[in-house]
Amino acid sequence: MLRFIVRRLLQLVLVIFALSVLLFAWLKSLPGGTVSAMLGERATPESREALTKELGLDQPIPVQYWSFLKRAVQGDFGVSNGVQPGTPALDLLLERFPATIELSISALLVAVLLALPLGYLAARRRGGILDNVAIVGSLVGVAVPVFFLAFLLKYWFAIELGWMPVSGRQEVGNATRVTGFFVLDGLLTREWDASLDALKHLVLPAIALASIPFAMIFRITRASVLDVLDEDFVRTARSKGLTSRVIRGRHIMRNALLPVITAIGLQTGLLLGGAILTETVFNFPGIGNALSEGFTKRDYPVLQVIILAAAGVYVLVNLVVDILYAVVDPRVRTR
C-alpha cells in the first residue's frame, strides 16, 4: 500500500510539472496581459516598455518559465496584480481555499445526504412514485446548468422572497477569524451570530453546487443497490432471518457503496468546475471566484497558483478515493 501511495505521489509531481509548462505557455500566448491591465488608458509606448522590462516580460518565454519555476518551488508564485493587488498569489490561494472547501463540503453533504437514502429507497421501490420523481429530479440536476440554477435560486430565495443573502460570505463585519472556515470560526469563538450568518450565506450556493453531484450519486446508488438486491448473498441473509437493518447496512449498502464512493471522489474533483460558476454568481470569495476574476483581469500569478493547486487537489482526491476503495473492499488490497 505504501509503495502504491508513493508511486501516486510521484505521479502527482509529474502531472503538476507538465501542467505548469502547458499553463505557462498558454498564458503567454494570450494577447494583452499584465502590462495592459496595469496601465490602462494611460499607457504610452514608453511606460509600456519600461514596465515590460521591469517585470522581465521582455525575456524569452523559456527564460521566464525557468524564473517562474525557480520561484515556485520555493513557494513564491508572484504577487496578484488584479484580483487582490499586492497580495502574494499563494497567500491569496490559502486565504480563499477555505471558502471553496467550506462550500464544496456543504454541497457534497447536501448531495450525499439526499442522494444515498433516496437512491436506496428508489431502488427498493423501483417503478414507484418516489422512484420516478427522484429520477426526474436527478435528470433535472444533470441537465440544468449550475449557473442557471444558481441564478434561479438567487432570484427566488434572495431577491424575490428575501429569505437568504444575495451574495458574499458574511455580513457580520466584526467576526473573529481563526481557521478561515467562517461557520466553524463562529462556533469555536462562540460568536453564534457570525456562524449562523455564514451558514445562511452558504445555503443557496451549496444547493446550486450540489445539483450535479446529487444527480450522479443518486443514479449510481440506485443502480448499484438494484444490482446488489438481486445477489445471492442478500437472499441468503434474508433466509438466515437477519433483521432488515442488518441486511441494509451490512450487506446491501456496504456492497453497493463501492461504485458510489468512486462517484463521490470524482464529483469532489469536479466540484471545482461548478464552484467557479457558483462562486461567481454569488460573489462567494473562494478560489473559483478568484479564478474567474483573475482571467478577466489577466492576473497570471493568481491563475497559475489556483489552476496548479486545483490539479493537485484533484489528483490527491482520487488517491484518497483509491485508498478508501481498498478499505471498503479488502479484495482490492490483495490485487
Partner: protein, 556 residues
C-alpha cells in the same frame, strides 16, 4: 471496533477542545467594530465596490476603486470642490505663483493633525513631496504611474524641482517650467498627504518586484492621513474594507461612524444587493438600469459628463488617412446625434471637440460636425479614396463611463461609414486581452477610445492625446501637422496668464476640429452613481470623486 470508535471520539473531542481553547473572540466589548460615537451619527454606509483596492498608499494606486477609498482617508494640498471639477482649498488655504509660474507658495491650514497625532505642517508636506520624487527603479516603472505621467517622470526629467518649508505653515513648491496643470494636478488622489511618521515607519518607498507583480511595504497596508475617516481593516477573506470615523478630524465630522466597501465585481449582483438593502449604493450603474433603479425607489445621481469618447485614426497604418479630406469625410459620415440618442444615456451630448464644456479652454463656438453623406462622398472622391477600407476596432469585456456599450456604438458608426461607401472591417478584442495593446501598437486604422479627466485642465485632455509627438495613439508624427500641433499644445500649457492661455486653448480646439482633424470627437456621456432611498447628503462629482463624509443613512 468499539475501541476504535471510542478512540476516534476522544481524539475528535480533544481536537475540538484544543481549537476552542485557542480561539477567543476578538470582538470589542460594545459588540461592534464601528465608530465610537463622537459628534456624528452611529450609522454605517455600505458601498458596493466593483473591484479590490490596488493598495492603500494612494501614491502607488491608479484605479478608481482604490481612490474611492483613499479619498475618505487622505486630503491633498488642494481639493476638488464638492460637485464640481474646480479646485478649492484643501490642506492649503491659499496659494500664489511667482511671476513666471515656476514657484508656488502654499499657506497651510492651521490646527490639522494626521490621525496618528502627527502635526500637519510645512515640514510634513515637504517630506511627502521628497518621498514622492525619490522612487526606486521598480516603482518608477509601474506603481508610481501617476507621478511619472503627471509630473513627467523623475529626476532631471521631472516637472517637480523642490519643496521648501519657508516657515512652519508655508511651503514653496518649485517646478521646472510654468504649466497649466499646476496647481490642479495636486488635487489628484495620488498626491494626497500622508503622515511622515507613518511613511518612515512603514518604509513607504520600499516597493519591490515579485514575479509579474509588485510587493508593497507596510505603509501601504496601514494608511494614515488627515481625512474624515481612518482605515480600520481590509478583510480579504470576506472582500470588505472598513473605515472608521476620524473623531479628531479638523473639519465637520463625518455623519456615519463607518463606511464599509463590499467588493462585488459583477454589476448585476451589485444591483441585486442594492435592491436587497445589503448595500446603500454603487457606482456606474448601467444606463439601461437607470429607470428600473429609480422606479424601485433608488436615487440615480447623474453627474455632469467630464469625459470624451473619440474615434481614433491611424495615418501611419493607413496612408489614405494622411489626406485631410479623407479624415474630414469620415467625420461628415458620422451621425453623432443619432448615435447619442440611440445608444447613450440621457444627458449625453454629441462632441464638437476633445474636451467637455466644463474645462477652461473649451470653445463654445464650435458645434458637433453635422452629418453630410453627399459631401463626405464627394470629399472621398476628390481624395481618390472611394475604395477606402478601414480596420475599425472596439473593445469587448468592458464598459467605460464614456462608452457604456462599445459594440452598439461601433455598429452605429460602422453603418454610417458604410453608407458613404467605406468598407469597414470590424475588429474586436478584450480590453486587457489585446485591445489596449493594439491601439498602442498601431494595429488598427480606426478605433474607439476615450478619457475621463483627472482634473480641470485642457492639457489633461488634448495634451494627453496629441502633446507627445513621438508617442501618441493618433500617430501624429506621420502627418504634416503633428509637430506644429504638439508645439502649440506646449506653448499653451506654458502660458502663465490665465486669460491668454484660455484663448490659446480655444483656438487650438478650433484648429484640431477644423484644420488638423487628427481624430474625431464623438460624445460626452454622463456617468451616474446610485444610492438607495435611505441615503441623504451625497454630492455627486463630475470627476467621480465623491466624498462620503456628508452622507447619512436612514436619517442617522
Amino acid at each position: 471496533m468499539t475501541v476504535r470508535k471510542s478512540t476516534s471520539a476522544v481524539l475528535l473531542t480533544a481536537f475540538a477542545l484544543t481549537l476552542g481553547a485557542c480561539a477567543e473572540s476578538e470582538r470589542s466589548d460594545d459588540g461592534s467594530g464601528g465608530g465610537s460615537g463622537g459628534e456624528g451619527g452611529d450609522g454605517t454606509f455600505t458601498f458596493g465596490a466593483a473591484g479590490a483596492p490596488e493598495v492603500f498608499d494612494p501614491f502607488y494606486a491608479s484605479d478608481g476603486e482604490t481612490f474611492r477609498i483613499t479619498r475618505q482617508i487622505f486630503e491633498g494640498l488642494v481639493e476638488v470642490k464638492p460637485g464640481s471639477a474646480e479646485i478649492g482649498p484643501g490642506l492649503a488655504t491659499e496659494w500664489e505663483p511667482n511671476e513666471d509660474g515656476t514657484k508656488w507658495t502654499f499657506t497651510l491650514r492651521d490646527g490639522v493633525t494626521f490621525s496618528d497625532g502627527e502635526e500637519m505642517n510645512a515640514e510634513a508636506i515637504c517630506a511627502n513631496f521628497e518621498r514622492m520624487a525619490d522612487q526606486n527603479e521598480t516603482a518608477q516603472a509601474g506603481p508610481a504611474e501617476y507621478w511619472a505621467y503627471s509630473m513627467e517622470g523623475f529626476g532631471e526629467d521631472s516637472l517637480y524641482r523642490s519643496c521648501e518649508a519657508t516657515d512652519d505653515m508655508t511651503v514653496d513648491l518649485t517646478i521646472a517650467r510654468p504649466t497649466s496643470k499646476f496647481p490642479a494636478l495636486l488635487s489628484l488622489s495620488s498626491f494626497a498627504m500622508q503622515s511622515p511618521k507613518a511613511l518612515e515607519e512603514g518604509n513607504a518607498n520600499e516597493v519591490t518586484k515579485q514575479g509579474e507583480g509588485f510587493s508593497y511595504p507596510e505603509n501601504a497596508q496601514n494608511p494614515v492621513g488627515t481625512g474624515p475617516y481612518t482605515f480600520e481593516k481590509y478583510d480579504t477573506a470576506n472582500k470588505t474594507v472598513t473605515l472608521k470615523r476620524n473623531d479628531d478630524y479638523w473639519g465637520e465630522k463625518a455623519k456615519n461612524a463607518e463606511i464599509v466597501f463590499k467588493i462585488i465585481p459583477d454589476e448585476s449582483t451589485r444591483r441585486q444587493e442594492l435592491e436587497a438593502d445589503s448595500i446603500n449604493g454603487y457606482d456606474l450603474p448601467n444606463p439601461v438600469d437607470w429607470k428600473g433603479l429609480e422606479d424601485g425607489g433608488n436615487q440615480v445621481e447623474v453627474r455632469p459628463a467630464f469625459n470624451i469618447l473619440y474615434m481614433g485614426l491611424n495615418p501611419e497604418r493607413n496612408e489614405k488617412l494622411q489626406d485631410k479630406k479623407v479624415r474630414e469625410a469620415i467625420g461628415l459620415a458620422l451621425d453623432r446625434e443619432g448615435m447619442v440618442k440611440a445608444q447613450l444615456p440621457e444627458g449625453a451630448v454629441a462632441a464638437s471637440q476633445f474636451m467637455p464644456d466644463t474645462v477652461q479652454g473649451y470653445n463654445s463656438e464650435l458645434q458637433p460636425t453635422e452629418r453630410d453623406v453627399e459631401k463626405a462622398k464627394s470629399l472621398l472622391k476628390e481624395a481618390g479614396a472611394e475604395d477606402l477600407e478601414l480596420t475599425f476596432a472596439y473593445p469587448s469585456e468592458v464598459t467605460r463611463p464614456y462608452m457604456p456599450n462599445p459594440q452598439k456604438i461601433h455598429e452605429a458608426l460602422t453603418n454610417n461609414l458604410e453608407e458613404v461607401g467605406i468598407t469597414v472591417k470590424a475588429v474586436t478584442k478584450p480590453w486587457n486581452g489585446g485591445y489596449l495593446d493594439g491601439v498602442d501598437n498601431g494595429q488598427f486604422d480606426a478605433w474607439l477610445l476615450g478619457w475621463t479627466g483627472d482634473y480641470d485642465s485642457a492639457d489633461n485632455f488634448i495634451g494627453t492625446f496629441f502633446g507627445n509627438l513621438e508617442s501618441n495613439d493618433f500617430q501624429t508624427s506621420a502627418t504634416d501637422f503633428g509637430e506644429q500641433l504638439s508645439q502649440e499644445i506646449k506653448e499653451a500649457d506654458q502660458t502663465v496668464d490665465e486669460a491668454e492661455r484660455t484663448a490659446m486653448y480655444e483656438e487650438l480646439n478650433k484648429k484640431i476640429a477644423e484644420e488638423y482633424i487628427p481624430g474625431l470627437p464623438i460624445s460626452h456621456s454622463p456617468p451616474a452613481i446610485v444610492v438607495n432611498e435611505d441615503v441623504e447628503g451625497l454630492v455627486a462629482s463630475p470627476l467621480t470623486a465623491e466624498e462620503f463624509s456628508t452622507v447619512t443613512v436612514g436619517g442617522k
